[in-house]
Symmetry: C2
């Protein structure tokens, strides 16, 4: 049976007529190489932002169901245009909406989750020798309404389809050439990684790397979908994201990531009694604020008040304040302080698990530069430090140098049977 | 049972945020007046043209199926935005795609015909006390592809839905206040008609009046749907389009219409044998050229060649030439001449049937102005004259004056039970 691949093109890869034709040629190239192709497309460049602006002009609080009806048009436009371009290249293509492609979601408008993929129509089209283009980022709810998966949801569409049709690889095309040891704009000698594990990629996506949406990596790990992140604008291979068993070697540290779009909220005078923290974070969850690092200082003396600090995305700061204000008096919290001048630098590496000295080296490196660490959070394969946002670039450079990430110490091999054949 | 009305808003009526809010208020006004409302929306202002331009940038001959996927997004955007605006006014609205609204069509992409309206979802939404917004101009084919109904198809969507749900009236909102005795830009004292019959409206739509799409009038006549053409920007009643039995009185002449976007093709040296005309017009039909007036001059002597002239829409001229060229030699046609400087002026009136002197008065009126008539075609309630395009305005003014159309000689009554209650 002919192998199937899923190719996903991001917004910058379909931003104008020339780029759509380029994507079409790339898709046709795969078909000519003997693959069956399902391509998932994002909305063109600024389309989604323009649609959001239209909604804001009409309504201060757009209805979520209607927002989904509105936003889902962007990807359909990309797909229809790309199908036209492919047909002109002498191949037959068919574009499908998320609904037509069988992406079934729950009814959480603007942030729906995929609950089923009924890919019969895609399979039939592939059988009929068609190239299938699917509008990313969208699906249809069980109550037959159009839904969207949230920003960056096209990655998840691509991975979910790859899982459903048993694709040999899910290629994610964008304007970056792969996953790097650090952001090349901050660290000029950052190195492109041939392979990272799902676990590392998850930590990287969660700590600031923008190459893949977190949810899509989770989905890929759960369903064993191989991802290949690569550039729309060059032919060279990018970075494979694979299971740990396939990644061959585990270097100590894989990459340094960073983020400057975070904010911190500190609650002081928090009564030291059971249920207070639960009430705080329930209110934040209900307001859809994703809390990252949490630090609670136990009071030094029995009965004294505690202090709770946590970080959230900067864009959620206002929503978080609105969520906390009404419960503040009831809980007896003294003060709510906010700080939007914070940043986070993280080092990630699956090999860290078996090397105890990593944390000490991180702290020493930052201390040597005079960078003060305000909060720390760790996982078995990640150490994150919250610092002042203006010190983030220097911290990234220092850690990248300290762990010698520009040198390919351990040359990871490309997994067998992939792409470069 | 609560009465239901269908309201259709054209592109200029939803062209920007302010106009969408205005349409929303108008819709909510009807709901507050106790009606159930289904509103059909067109794409915003220039949206369709912009989408067509995008397609042309990508492909010289866009695939029709993909063209439909592309173009259908415009109306969805309008509907989603208007639903948001209605929700902000404290009412609950739901937007539906043509497919969700149950508009089932054949598979003739870009010019599909409605074959069924399965309005269960609309009925359920109305039962649930929702205002229903439907994306005009589109449907879903029996093979589950998105289709469009051709330019102006939103009128047809509105009429088809009005028929399916038994609406008491189908209101067509646009930037014109109704149907006039002539184009007010050409004849400043043209008068707004309170009522016209379906038959008159069909002739008017076919001869240049742009207020309603021809197909929608046919559909309304067949299914007995009352149409009310009115302005989005003022409250006063517009023009009702009704069955002849409801229109009370038949004035001699109802209106003068005109068109300057026509072209004429003349075939000379056409062999005088059976089957030649059939071959010519089959080729034009296959190329989708809608032929209007046809004139064939019988050869004066047996065996001599004939001359065939016909008019088509100016935009179809190139397609017609391309269609005729390949069959020309085979049929033995001597020459194909084209003339795109022609126009047409028509007078329409159901009362004409019983008044034989109308044609003579038309010809005398034009002759008195020195306007040469190049072709004539008639129906029981219409007389059309093909003249030079630059003489069209004067011809319209002369006929409007000659038949005293600015005077409401016969005051037609507004039909009982409509609108102005």
């Amino acid at each position: 049976m002919t192998a199937t691949i899923v190719m996903k093109f991001g917004g910058t890869s379909v931003a104008d007529a020339e780029r759509i034709k380029r994507a079409a040629r790339r898709i046709v190239g795969k078909r000519d190489a003997g693959k069956r192709v399902v391509a998932v497309l994002s909305a063109r460049g600024q389309t989604t932002d323009e649609l959001i602006q239209m909604a804001e002009e009409v309504s201060p609080t757009p209805d979520p169901r209607e927002m989904d009806m509105l936003l889902s048009t962007g990807e359909r436009i990309s797909c229809a245009l790309c199908a036209m371009a492919i047909n002109d290249l002498g191949h037959r293509a068919i574009s499908l909406t998320g609904s037509q492609a069988g992406i079934v979601t729950d009814a959480s408008h603007t942030k729906a989750r995929i609950i089923d993929v009924r890919a019969d129509r895609i399979r039939q089209a592939l059988e009929d020798d068609l190239i299938v283009l699917v509008a990313g980022f969208q699906g249809v709810s069980t109550s037959r309404d159009v839904t969207t998966l949230g920003r960056g949801g096209s990655d998840t569409t691509a991975v979910a389809l790859a899982a459903a049709i048993g694709a040999e690889v899910c290629e994610i095309y964008s304007d970056v050439a792969g996953v790097f040891t650090a952001d090349p704009r901050v660290v000029p000698d950052a190195r492109k990684l041939p392979v990272v594990s799902f676990e590392e990629m998850l930590e990287m996506a969660a700590s600031g790397a923008k190459v893949l949406q977190l949810r899509s990596v989770e989905y890929a790990r759960t369903h064993g979908v191989r991802i290949h992140c690569r550039s729309s604008f060059e032919e060279s291979p990018g970075t494979f994201v694979l299971g740990e068993d396939e990644t061959m070697e585990h270097p100590l540290i894989t990459a340094v990531t960073h983020s400057t779009d975070e904010a911190r909220i500190t609650l002081t005078g928090v009564p030291d009694r059971p249920g207070v923290a639960a009430a705080i974070f329930r209110a934040l969850a209900d307001a859809n604020c994703n809390v990252d690092t949490i630090i609670q200082n136990e009071p030094r003396e029995e009965g004294r008040d505690a202090e709770v600090s946590f970080t959230i995305a900067a864009e959620d700061l206002r929503a978080a304040e609105r969520a906390l204000e009404p419960i503040r008096t009831g809980l007896g919290i003294a003060e709510i302080d906010t700080d939007s001048e914070i940043g986070k630098v993280s080092i990630i590496g699956a090999g860290m698990r078996s090397h105890p000295g990593v944390a000490a080296q991180v702290f020493e490196t930052l201390a040597a530069r005079g960078i003060n660490i305000e909060m720390i959070s760790t996982s078995p394969i990640k150490i994150s430090c919250v610092i002042r946002s203006d010190e983030v670039p220097e911290a990234v450079q220092a850690l990248h140098e300290s762990f010698q990430l520009s040198l390919a110490e351990v040359q990871r091999e490309r997994p067998i049977g992939q792409e470069a054949r």
